[in-house]
């Protein structure tokens, strides 16, 4: 059984069927890309997975460590906390007035809150809490290093340049210790050099962490290079699924993209 199984996912907004009977599965140590034209429903899939929207039909199941979580029945924060789905947002959502390090500590809320015995041990400065806090800072540091953000660790997150904010959002998601990482257009707005760096980061997450990566991305060079599996959405329907090579050759995909800028990119 796959780590994540999505079956017959359907959601309507008024008359608009934003996602129409989409099924797919994702495994750990794999990058699953979701592509499609603007408005195809990609972000909506993430919003369903992470509990921001409740689907009208469908089943979303995370199976790991001998346990199963049915996402459509869970509140958003429980999905993140218990099922272990972390995400980034298409329009970055950091805690801008807090420092980079604090952003990463907030992400480790679950462990720290438990170590502080819901603040009691923390208030009296118990040693167990201080150790947990040091561990949290060490974990944050390791992610800052991997995202080349150590030198700005104590700066306000909102003051970082755009590319650094994107990386910080990924680092923050990883600090929650997720099983599944959902990245919503992480390369949007990055320059080519930054895109390459980002692709390397995403790939290293796949290679060294035991997690599944779901990736929404418009930059086809990034998608084709790092994905293990690609799902193509169009008008809320899944029109294709396969390896990058299969997708490149798929006539439906080419048709869906026809007339848009991305046509050239896909057939390249």
């Amino acid at each position: 059984m796959s780590l994540l199984t999505v079956e017959h996912l359907t959601i309507r907004f008024g008359g608009l069927v934003a996602i129409d009977d989409v099924s797919f599965a994702a495994d750990d140590r794999r990058i699953t890309a979701i592509i499609g034209p603007n408005g195809a429903g990609k972000t909506t899939v993430f919003n369903c997975l992470t509990g921001f929207y409740k689907p009208d039909v469908g089943r979303m199941c995370v199976a790991a460590d001998g346990q199963e979580w049915l996402l459509e029945r869970m509140e958003g924060f429980r999905i993140a906390r218990d099922a272990g789905i972390a995400r980034t947002f298409q329009n970055i959502r950091l805690f801008p007035k807090m420092t980079v390090l604090e952003n990463l500590l907030v992400a480790q809320h679950k462990a720290l809150q438990r170590a502080s015995l819901f603040s009691l041990a923390g208030l009296v400065g118990a040693k167990s809490f201080r150790l947990a806090e040091q561990a949290a800072i060490a974990r944050a540091r390791s992610w800052l290093e991997r995202c080349s953000l150590v030198h700005v660790a104590d700066d306000e997150a909102g003051s970082l340049p755009y590319g650094a904010q994107r990386r910080l959002e990924i680092a923050r998601a990883m600090c929650t210790g997720p099983r599944i990482l959902c990245l919503d257009e992480p390369a949007a707005g990055l320059n080519p050099a930054e895109s390459v760096e980002l692709a390397a980061l995403v790939r290293s997450i796949r290679d060294y962490e035991k997690i599944a990566v779901l990736l929404i991305e418009h930059d086809m060079s990034v998608v084709m290079e790092i994905s293990d599996q690609i799902i193509v959405l169009d008008h809320g329907r899944k029109i294709a699924q396969g390896t990058p090579d299969e997708i490149r050759a798929n006539p439906d995909v080419i048709r869906a993209y026809l007339g848009t800028d991305e046509e050239a990119a896909v057939s390249r």
């Binding site: 992470t50 509990g51 921001f52 958003g76 924060f77 429980r78 993140a80 906390r81 218990d82 972390a86 995400r87 947002f89 959502r93 950091l94 805690f95 801008p96 007035k97 807090m98 420092t99 390090l101 604090e102 500590l105 907030v106 992400a107 480790q108 809320h109 679950k110 720290l112 809150q113 502080s116 819901f118 603040s119 923390g122 208030l123 806090e133 800072i137 944050a140 540091r141 800052l144 150590v150 660790a153 104590d154 923050r172 998601a173 929650t176």
Partner: protein, 421 residues
């Protein structure tokens, strides 16, 4: 170029004069005269004309010389310097203030009046710090904070009168009751933010006041509750003569009786309570819960995506903020000896919120400065009797022009990568 500037200045002055005219006609232009044949209306349009001309010429002069523009940046840079105080310096300022506060009752000029005012300031500092948890840290705009102050005050008054509980027993109970009311307010407003939250909390504050006003059997209604037990020094009352089998405070220490003893005791009591609030908040900011409060203020959706339960975070902020309001209320009741719903009107909530906003949301030291300012300035302006509130309002407007983000907008991080914050 010059003529263009002049035309602009005239236009600006004219528009300001128009506003002055519109305000002056009803406010200055008409006057009720209590004459022989009853009330008559007298007009003073000459006054209006003089006033409006003065406004026009004054504004024209300012616009031409460009003083405002020169003046404001200057003030701004001072403000920036103030807000960018490095952590060490602001800690130094805090320490200096604390030492000053500890020594205050001993200094020679500190008579009864001074210490009484200092107590009032400290009550507001404590309330400001309590509300700072809710508004400054968690970002939940609460316009009904005075309700918790009232809950604390009435808890102490009723428990001590009806059950004879001592202040030290009532204090935690008052805090817990206020916290319970905080949760009660928290539940219905969980989904609300910003303006909507402000309106509902405002309504909650008024509800508590109106219940206290109308539930006569419980709270004494508009007459309030009087002869609330005054505090004693851990069982030794501050009284001229002891009752049967009791030792008074001055006998205990072999002093001459003085009414100042109780006042100084109250002063240190509120100082300790306020400092407890402060230390608690400073500590909480470095704990996961405190960080989650700030994260919630910054972005609730991101919090959710990180597995943080916003319900718990909001309720805890409401409850803990309310708890300190309750402590302050219990202190208020024992200090005054008399409470009535009048003390807990909306304007109190507004003043406390003004303290937090003026101080710079989330800044502990800013709250102290703002509380001192908001309580002391009207006090000093008593000599100006009827212009008091005008001057006070003007001072507020100037500060908001000068520092829209509050007096102290520096935020010190709760953790640093290198070592401790």
């Amino acid at each position: 170029m010059a003529s263009q500037k002049f035309a602009g200045a005239v236009r600006e002055a004219a528009s300001v004069a128009l506003v002055a005219l519109l305000l002056a006609i009803p406010l200055v232009g008409f006057r009720l005269v209590d004459g022989l044949r009853g009330l008559t209306i007298d007009t003073r349009f000459d006054w209006v004309a003089w006033g409006v001309s003065a406004v026009f010429l004054g504004r024209l002069a300012i616009a031409l010389s460009g003083t405002t523009r020169r003046l404001l940046p200057d003030l701004k840079s001072v403000g920036a310097a103030l807000s960018n105080l490095p952590g060490g310096l602001s800690r130094f300022a805090g320490g200096a203030m604390l030492i000053g506060a500890l020594l205050l009752p001993i200094v020679p000029f500190a008579d009864r009046y001074v210490v009484e005012i200092a107590i009032t300031v400290l009550i507001y500092v404590m309330l400001g710090w309590g509300l700072n948890i809710v508004v400054g840290l968690a970002g939940l705009l609460d316009l009904g904070y005075v309700a918790f102050y009232a809950v604390g005050a009435y808890s102490y008054a009723l428990l001590s009168i009806n059950f004879g509980w001592s202040f030290w027993l009532c204090l935690p109970v008052a805090g817990l009751l206020a916290a319970a009311f905080g949760v009660m307010l928290g539940f219905p407003v969980l989904r609300l933010r910003g303006d909507y939250l402000a309106i509902v909390t405002l309504g909650f504050g008024e509800m508590i006041r109106i219940i206290l006003l109308n539930w006569k059997d419980f709270s004494g209604g508009p007459n309030g509750i009087s002869s609330i037990p005054r505090p004693d020094f851990f069982g030794f009352p501050f009284a001229r003569t002891a009752e049967e089998g009791q030792t008074t405070f001055h006998q205990l220490f072999g002093l001459e009786f003085s009414p100042m003893h109780r006042i100084v005791f109250l002063y240190y009591l509120i100082l300790i309570l306020a400092m407890l609030t402060n230390l608690f908040t400073l500590r909480m900011r470095r704990l996961p819960l405190g960080r989650a409060w700030e994260a919630l203020r910054e972005d609730e959706i991101a919090c959710r995506a990180l597995g943080i339960n916003p319900t718990m975070i909001k309720l805890s902020a409401f409850a803990l903020g309310a708890m300190f309001g309750g402590f302050a209320g219990a202190f208020f009741a024992t200090r005054q000896g008399f409470i009535s719903p009048e003390s807990f009107s909306f304007i109190e909530s507004a003043v406390i919120l003004a303290i937090v906003v003026l101080g710079g949301m989330g800044s502990q030291i800013g709250v102290v400065i703002a509380a001192a300012f908001l309580i002391l300035v009207p006090e000093f302006l008593r000599d100006f009797s009827q212009y008091r509130m005008v001057l006070f309002g003007m001072a507020m407007v100037l500060i908001m022009l000068w520092r829209p983000q509050g007096l102290v907008s520096h935020r010190s991080p709760s953790a640093r990568l290198g070592g401790h914050a």
